[in-house]
């Protein structure tokens, strides 16, 4: 009975979403306040029913209701309760429900925090979000009902995919979806602005905190996913340029461009059409990401069994959303223009260059990711693009971004003065050279490591020198407004990330080796002694647990316990053991026994030494923090503001128009 209530809740939510999607937009068009006023209650109602559906599905998992097919497929009696909760988004139906649930979280937050915005504008924004809700709720109700019954009811269920039985999986999907879906707000703002013709700066100011928070969540989600892949997939990589990873990376890249373009449009009024276009693309790529992950059209290490018919629905939805929004853009955007002019050497130009580089990167990733489909269409055979394609082009495209980064805060809007740029270039340059020389000495002249250290020093010193400048020149309390502090955190995060990537990529030692109990393998100055395996059991698995004693200079550093688990349904899962440190990770994973009949004998082991790898995620977390801090900017919360409010920094005299 209870699961049916869940389904009813979904259907009611769908009906409310239709009301929310149509009435307020019509109301805003006709100037009918009563229709516009439907937006908030409809959104609240939809949220209540979606939340109820979500709660009912969680309850079905917690109460072992195996008569629900989705529950029976993805959990069993032995699965611990916390993994039964996360199993909700462990497969297709539930993760779509999570998508809609998070859309409702954003919608409700927006409805609650938008009292100060003009009513027609809010009505349009909530209406657009309602339409998106319709698309996904219809998808769930008609093709992916998580409450489908399975009769007769099985005595026990299947299992949650073992790779998903990991703490990292608890956060990764919800946080990532918060980011994906969060871009829908910027999207809805843009559509509302296009619909209503409110193309002044005001709407950008309202959209900025939402976009920054969404981007921060997306960053956090990608970091969590990368960490999970590193710890759980058992081969110690942190990024594979896999289609599913690329799916989350494309909206991220466009998101970076978007949050910077929004800053230009908000403060200077320039490039509003570009900002709108980026908002449309960021969300379109989020939808495409959902489509790629869910349709199974691409071969991926992340791909799960999937149903192409559902892919077809999402593809149709994708065409409607992208096609419709671009059509609207084509009709309305030509009227959008204006803003203050800027010189060639100005913050606007620098941001524009970086924007183009990020947009090109996203296009490059898109091309590489979809290439198998293109190859199929052109009939040139089954073809995919290898990771070196992405690695080569991405480094090439991001190198100029790294070079430009320290100048960003020093560049003034409108027209920058060359003197302060020369100073920061000199400081950061000297720091980069010194660090490069030091790195040359420590890293045995490995070029990538040296380049990484130099780049990181360049960005870090450039950013810190701006911190010092603000500290010197501004009075207490006005030194670091939230917006600026967030920017500085994120830029510093880039330095940390760069350091982590380049050092771990060039200095890692990865060895797959065969060790009999008592034998030792030495890498990176650490001796790994394999002391055999013992049997071990968990709530829903049994397995072998290896004992690896790590010694440095004769002293024991750590005793590691990598596991090879066999879950109730027979799936084998490697649990790596990681000794984490700021400057290095030690990573051990069990392969298989050389002789399957004799687990006491020699085993295959992966033994890795990974210097600075944690800096990759630390850098990502700093960027995440930057996004959240920026969103806290007081200016964004101001009541209706005139379009031409003074920017936080005193604007210098604006130069003549040089860019038409």
């Amino acid at each position: 009975m209870i699961p049916e209530l869940g389904q009813f809740a979904l259907i009611l939510a769908l009906l409310l979403a239709i009301a929310q999607g149509i009435l307020p937009i019509v109301g805003a068009w006709r100037g009918n306040a009563a229709l516009m006023a439907v937006a908030r209650p409809a959104a609240a109602g939809q949220a209540v029913f979606v939340t109820a559906a979500m709660a009912i599905l969680i309850w079905a998992f917690l109460s072992f209701d195996f008569s629900v097919a989705f529950v029976a497929d993805n959990s069993n009696l032995a699965l611990p309760w916390y993994y039964r909760v996360t199993a909700v988004w462990g497969a297709h139906e539930g993760s779509m429900l999570l998508w809609v649930f998070i859309l409702n979280v954003w919608t409700v937050a927006l409805a609650a925090l938008s009292r100060h915005l003009p009513q027609p504008f809010v009505a349009r924004v909530l209406g657009v979000l309602g339409l998106l809700g319709v698309g996904f709720l219809a998808f769930i109700v008609f093709t992916s009902n998580p409450f489908m019954r399975e009769l007769p009811m099985p005595a026990d269920g299947g299992d949650l995919n073992p790779v998903l039985q990991d703490p990292g999986m608890t956060f990764h999907p919800p946080v990532l979806y918060m980011g994906y879906v969060g871009f829908s707000v910027a999207f809805a703002f843009s559509i509302a602005a296009l619909l209503g013709g409110e193309l002044e700066q005001a709407w950008v100011r309202w959209a900025r905190p939402w976009t920054n928070v969404a981007w921060a969540f997306l960053t956090g989600g990608i970091v969590a996913g990368s960490w999970w892949a590193y710890a759980e997939l058992g081969w110690g990589g942190w990024w594979f340029w896999d289609p599913v990873e690329n799916a989350s990376f494309m909206p991220w890249l466009v998101g970076v461009a978007l949050i910077h373009a929004q800053a230009i449009t908000e403060k200077r009024g320039s490039l509003p059409a570009w900002t709108i276009l980026l908002s449309l693309f960021a969300f379109s790529l989020s939808l495409l990401g959902t489509f790629l992950v869910r349709s199974g059209v691409l071969t991926s290490v992340h791909a799960f069994a999937s149903d192409p018919r559902r892919g077809l629905y999402i593809l149709g939805f994708l065409i409607v959303v992208i096609g419709g929004s671009l059509l609207l853009y084509a009709i309305r955007a030509p009227k959008v223009a204006g803003g203050k002019a800027f010189a060639v050497v100005s913050r606007e130009t620098a941001i524009m260059i970086a924007n183009l580089l990020f947009a090109t990167s996203a296009a490059m990733v898109l091309l590489g990711t979809l290439f198998p489909l293109i190859g199929d269409a052109l009939n040139i055979g089954k073809v995919s693009v290898g990771p070196p394609y992405f690695g080569f082009l991405f480094v090439l495209l991001m190198a100029p971004v790294v070079l430009l980064l320290p100048f960003g805060p020093y560049l003034r809007w409108g027209r920058a003065d060359g003197k302060s740029l020369a100073t920061v270039a000199a400081r950061a340059g000297i720091a980069a050279v010194i660090c490069a020389v030091a790195a040359w000495y420590f890293a045995d002249g490995k070029l990538r490591a040296v380049a990484g250290v130099a780049g990181a020093a360049w960005v870090a010193v450039g950013t810190l020198s701006y911190v010092a400048k603000r500290w010197r020149e501004m009075p207490r309390g006005r030194r670091f407004p939230a917006e600026m502090a967030g920017m500085l955190f994120a830029h510093f995060g880039v330095a940390v990330f760069l350091m982590g990537v380049m050092l771990s990529e060039s200095l890692s030692v990865e060895r797959d080796t065969r060790l009999a109990p008592g034998q030792t393998e030495t890498i990176g100055g650490y001796a790994f002694r394999f002391d055999g395996v013992q049997e071990t059991t968990g709530p829903n698995w049994r397995g072998d647990q290896g004992i690896v004693t790590v010694m440095q200079n004769g002293e024991t550093v750590h005793v590691m316990h990598p596991q090879k688990r066999i879950y109730t349904r027979g799936q084998v899962q490697t649990e790596s053991s990681i000794d984490a440190g700021i400057f290095r990770d030690l990573y051990v994973a069990l392969g298989e026994p050389m002789d399957a009949a004799n687990v006491e004998g020699p085993w295959a082991l992966r033994v890795y030494y990974k210097p600075f790898i944690r800096w990759i995620w630390l850098g990502g977390l700093l960027m995440t923090l930057g996004g959240f801090v920026t969103a806290g900017e007081r200016r964004f919360r101001a009541k209706r503001v005139a379009a031409s409010e003074t920017p936080t920094e005193p604007a210098p005299a604006v130069g003549k128009a040089t860019v038409a």
Partner: protein
């Protein structure tokens, strides 16, 4: 030309130049990194001869996995409905690698053997990459892939 036109000209030329550079680099990178997927019968039919490295896809033949006693070298046979190809790999195989599993290995040919540098891991035991399904179906237009799989019932 007046200064405004001149400036516009410079901008247009630099944009075009940047686009040309970007496109040619992308084409270059694509050409260097295209990986084709073939099944054993397609390879034995000579379709893969022009490629240095490619991906080999098929099913692991039951009972064909042999491990070396003193190193991490392992050999196995990948089959599709009309061909079989011995594969050699040194390293640790993914968790889901076993008899009768679909597998994609990337590497190169050495004589009649395929030397794999990487064997694809999967997350899901019931998942078969669509492109592999298609390739195997294409290699045997008249023989359905389901039949090939049905010969080795595993799931």
């Amino acid at each position: 030309m007046n200064p405004t036109r001149k400036r516009r000209m410079t901008i247009v030329i630099s944009v075009v130049a940047a686009a040309v550079v970007a496109v040619s680099l992308t084409v270059f990178a694509l050409q260097q990194n295209m990986n084709y997927l073939f099944t054993p019968s397609q390879v034995q039919g000579g379709q893969a001869t022009q490629y240095q490295t490619f991906r080999l896809g098929g099913m692991v033949k039951s009972g064909s996995i042999q491990r070396s006693s003193d190193s991490l070298k392992v050999s196995f046979i990948v089959i599709d409905a009309g061909g079989a190809m011995p594969v050699e790999y040194t390293g640790i195989l993914p968790d889901l690698f076993r008899d009768n599993q679909s597998v994609i290995a990337s590497g190169r040919m050495d004589g009649a053997r395929f030397i794999a540098s990487e064997v694809l891991a999967k997350h899901d035991e019931t998942y078969m990459p669509k492109e592999l399904k298609d390739a195997m179906a294409k290699a045997h237009e008249n023989k359905k892939i389901d039949e090939a799989a049905a010969k080795d019932p595993v799931q």
